[in-house]
């Protein structure tokens, strides 16, 4: 481990202050704004966890809903027998196992197979869960009764988001992160320098999946009643992809920049134009591909670089001295 640079220390302090500030929100409002902020923290956690894997590898994972739903179901099934905290961990472990299986089947071959496989994964898990549920019991859904209110869920998710950020930062400093950077730049080069690309990708996908599963578990009490179509809602996967890519996946905090505005957009859409959600999502994808291919943060960095260049350019041409 190398020592912390001053900028890293300042980023850490700024991050801690931001989390602390966000944690005070329930003291001011427990209604609409808390609920809105809860949505944002949820997507912040999901998008950052998604970016842990999909940022460096450029593999578009649509498995989010599957991991999320498994976490939710872990809580729904075990709440009567196991304490909640342990269930969150179990949700993470179950999701990580699924991620490992999916990764083992698809990450050894080209990236397209991975996208296609995760595309239907949530639906597949939903069919299997519904099928076993019908076979083993007569009811379709599960009740989740806890003493948690929205503010508790909000705090837990905020803590989870902080942990995800910390993990992401640690990964970037580690050999794993360094190897992922090489894989992202050129996989052939990575393989030739002796990196076991498939294994590392699978490990990273499992870490990412575990956090998504934990987020799903934490959110289970919010739904109170869980049934397969709601828990494995494929829309979550697509929204996570949009928000993360909109913000930009080159920096760990990039997705946050996309989460905040797009949560507001979705809030507006679901209130005013509930029937046109797909149209809005479709347009969002097209905007990302054609207007913001590197996300908002990528575009800002580009502008920043250009600004620096124009400011730096006039200086090295001192005309008087030359004459």
């Amino acid at each position: 481990m190398t020592r912390l640079s001053p900028s890293e220390i300042w980023t850490g302090i700024a991050g801690a202050v931001a989390v602390a500030a966000a944690a005070t929100l329930p003291l001011f409002d427990q209604g609409y704004y808390l609920s809105l902020a809860l949505n944002m923290v949820m997507y912040a956690a999901l998008c950052t966890a998604w970016t842990l894997f999909s940022g460096p590898t450029h593999y578009v994972s649509l498995a989010t809903a599957a991991f999320f739903g498994l976490g939710t179901y872990a809580v729904g099934l075990g709440l009567d027998y196991v304490p909640f905290g342990a269930l969150v961990l179990i949700g993470g472990v179950v999701a990580a196992i699924l991620a490992g299986l999916v990764g083992a089947a698809t990450l050894r071959i080209s990236g397209v197979y991975f996208v296609i496989f995760t595309f239907g994964l949530a639906e597949l898990v939903r069919q299997i869960v519904s099928y076993t549920q019908i076979k083993l019991s007569t009811k379709m859904g599960l009740y989740v009764f806890t003493d948690f209110t929205e503010k508790h869920i909000y705090w837990m998710l905020l803590a989870l988001t902080a942990v995800i950020f910390l993990t992401g930062w640690l990964i970037n400093r580690s050999r794993l992160g360094f190897a992922m950077q090489i894989i992202g730049n050129d996989e052939t080069v990575a393989r030739h320098s002796g990196i076991d690309t498939a294994k590392l990708k699978i490990i990273l996908f499992m870490i990412s999946g575990a956090f998504i599963g934990m987020a799903g578990a934490i959110l289970a009490p919010r739904y109170a009643y869980i049934e397969p179509p709601a828990a494995f809602n494929p829309m979550i996967s697509f929204l996570v992809v949009i928000m993360a890519l909109l913000g930009g996946t080159r920096r760990l905090w990039g997705p946050l920049v996309g989460v905040i505005p797009f949560s507001l957009v979705m809030e507006f859409v679901s209130a005013r134009l509930p029937n046109d959600t797909s149209i809005v999502i479709g347009i969002a994808f097209l905007v990302i591909v054609y207007v913001l291919p590197d996300g908002i943060t990528g575009r800002l960095e580009q502008l920043w670089a250009r600004l620096k260049k124009t400011r730096a350019e006039p200086q090295p041409v001192p005309v008087e001295e030359r004459a």
């Binding site: 578009v60 089947a105 698809t106 990236g111 496989f117 591909v289």
Partner: protein
Amino acid sequence: METIVTGVLLGGTYALIAIGLTLQYGVARIMNLANGETFVAACFIAFWLFTSYAINPLWGILVIAPVAFLVNWAIYALLLRPLVDRAKSQGMLEVDSILATFGLLFLFQGLMLRGFGGAYTSYTFLAERFDIFGTFYGLNRVVAFGAACVIAVLLYLFLYRTRYGTAVRAVAVNPNSAKLVGIDVAKAAALSFALGGALTACGGTLLSTFYTFNASMGVIFTMKALIIVIMGGVGDVRGAVIAALILGIAETAVARLVDPGLTLAATYALFVFVLLFRPQGIFGRQQA
């Protein structure tokens, strides 16, 4: 036996959408995830032509296929060509095209929900009994299968007996070498993308004669077509046909014998099997 015949009849329509997708991905190198939307749009247009103007869906194909050809040509030229031009590598193009076609998927799905509503739709066409090996099947299914065979044979003749078809196959094998022997790769790619869309629309028209459809089911068909394409080997038309029949039979068998709610699980089981043991497809050669 009954299961196999029903499966094969269903597989005939699957084959068309899968061939459409395999042309788009194998030749134009665009993973078109909005392909299912072309398919569903064709279902609705066939329905509209049949109920409003009493146009037989089999004649309707003659209208729907050219329209789908032009629309897909326009999509390729206006939206996807710029992505091909800006991509620095195959991997970048794949990510870009996947995201762009996701956009189209949702956009078209939203527009169709607006236009036709979310309800399940169907119409009655040739709902008579037809006798195969002593068991009765819907005549509409048999006719749809026959039409699918005719279309597949026409495509085969185009690909293997004409100069254009040979050019298309050459691009599928290797775009860079195709350029060296004087093939206009950009044109061949656009042609195959449009042709793929037209074939998919044919599949949709035929399916609508015996199947209940709604505006949001395109994704499921895209999914099935993708799995068929991978099973058959990317860009391989014959492989796609065989894989479509296998998938049709497997799905029918699981729906009949186990549970209709598990058809996707059956598809996925096949998919995992293929990925683990033959990722290059049924007829694909092992890559060096």
